[in-house]
Symmetry: C2
């Protein structure tokens, strides 16, 4: 481990493909650090990616995201699948292999070599979620994960953002929090492929499911379009989890048959490529010479010596 | 109005500078439509901008943002100031001069020629809030507004985003919603220059103010740093509004004396210039030839024929 060569990219990639957790961890750290060798990593991973099903899990705080993720992982493991979990907290500057906050519940799987769990922060990240998450997914995909779960810990717009990173988006609600109006306000009616009303042993679960179903059928749907199912679960006891996984798998099959998978992945790749290009440009703009770097130009705009379009032109002129 | 020349940029700018509401409206519409003539508009406005104080007003739904804004506008008008109001709804695709939702309360000022009110949506906008808002502020600034209020109607991250667009950020809370933990969670403790506990005739206002003050003093502050005041208001009756405006003005004076105004405006100009440059690049990337446009490249990445870094290189190569 001390020799430089032991960290060389081809070696790391080969070890990650054999499922070596340390190599997988190292590759994801390279993503988080926006390492210059990422270019070489992604090139080496390319032919080994595209096989994993990417499942996004989101929902408001308190609906039981960690418990549900853990229960789904257990169900997937019973079926012999290898699983990667990326727990994303867009508001957190912390990241790394350590389990954060209620991630300790995932400790059920901590000793399972066929489950890879990783927490990632995004605040202050060069290109944000759109930059780091797809690359971390590529690493887990190439490492042989059958499913990569991307779970958001955050709130607000991150829910919608995460939907764009997954093949299938699972939205969790809980009774009393998930009535129709709230769901509509949070914008979750547009993003879910599968819905679960978790904590379904609590009062109001049937009402929440009924309201949600009504809201979901209100939008008009094209023929052959996917109709998002709503499953009741009690993740803490495992109740309903097999049915939920069944619906997730049914959506995965539909994605392939309908051609929607290719469409979604193209949209995702588009954002990823754009994020990589923009972060390369931003880096160039920081270090431009002759007072034509972004800070110097911004100072002149703030003082009224230059208008913002002329400043943007100067920035673009020097590439 | 039917002759083409009547809409020419120099004429529009001259009329806007005389305070003609129709010319101001037309210029903001050019911003919203991302018109190609904006470059000429911003160049013509440049020497007439930088005078207005930009006040951001934000807070969770239900705290009384519209009522507070309207009351502050009344107080500013009593002092003879000209006021522009941009009501931003980041989640809305709607925009235009029409008053949206509870904006009708601003109807108090509808007939006042020295108050300019405009609602703007941002969803789906090329460069988002960071692109359109500063340019709309420039228009109102050049049109002779002493104060430009940027009020967010939205929720979540938009609050934090709006803080970056203003010289002074006013955060509104209401009793019972604004206890310390909630405030900390929402991230508003870092963004406010002035706080108001509105609906202060309700139970719990003193407790909310006390908790907020405690949380605000917990962070360490440099010597000479601004200490955000917390004012109690009942915007519907006007109670506390003069005191609140006094604190806003005191902050405006501090900004100038401390050099913080120049720093904030440079940060803001930096974002604005970057947003303009990026939207120009995105437009180029859409229409590139030879299958090197972003869609074609994304398709090849999604199919595994190209890695995302190689795709970004191709994109940047044709600049």
């Amino acid at each position: 481990m001390t020799r430089r060569g032991a960290h060389a990219v081809p070696d790391l990639v080969a070890r990650a493909r054999e499922g070596d957790p340390a190599a997988v961890a190292r590759l994801i750290t390279l993503v988080e650090d926006a390492s210059p060798v990422l270019r070489e990593v992604m090139s080496a991973l390319r032919e080994h990616t595209g096989r994993a099903h990417v499942l996004g899990i989101t929902g408001a705080p308190g609906v039981g995201k960690s418990t549900s993720t853990s229960a789904l992982v257990s169900a997937m493991r019973r079926g012999g699948r290898r699983v990667g979990v990326l727990a994303i907290d867009p508001s957190s500057p912390f990241s790394g292999g350590a389990l954060l906050g209620d991630r300790v519940r995932m400790g059920d799987h901590a000793l399972d070599r066929d489950v890879y769990i990783r927490s990632m922060g995004a605040r202050g990240h060069l290109g944000g979620l759109a930059w780091s998450t797809p690359q971390a997914v590529r690493v887990l995909d190439a490492a042989g994960c059958d499913v990569v779960i991307v779970e958001t810990v955050g709130v607000g717009q991150s829910e919608v953002e995460v939907a764009g990173l997954a093949d299938t988006t699972l939205v969790l609600l809980a009774p009393g929090m998930g009535d129709g109006i709230q769901a509509a306000k949070a914008g979750i009616l547009e993003i879910g492929d599968v819905y679960a009303v978790n904590k379904a042993d609590r009062e109001g679960a049937d009402r929440t499911r009924r309201e949600l179903r009504t809201m979901l059928t209100m939008g008009e749907r094209r023929e052959g379009a996917w109709r998002p199912p709503v499953v009741k679960t009690v993740a803490s006891t495992g109740e309903g989890i097999d049915e939920l996984l069944g619906e997730v798998d049914r959506h995965a099959a539909w994605l392939g048959e309908s051609g929607e998978l290719a469409r979604r992945r193209t949209v995702r790749a588009r954002r990823e490529v754009e994020a990589i290009a923009l972060s390369a440009l931003r880096a160039r703009w920081e270090r431009a010479d002759d007072g034509a770097d972004l800070d110097a130009l911004a100072g002149r705009v703030a003082q009224g010596d230059l208008d913002p379009y002329a400043a943007a032109d100067e920035l673009l002129d020097q590439g």
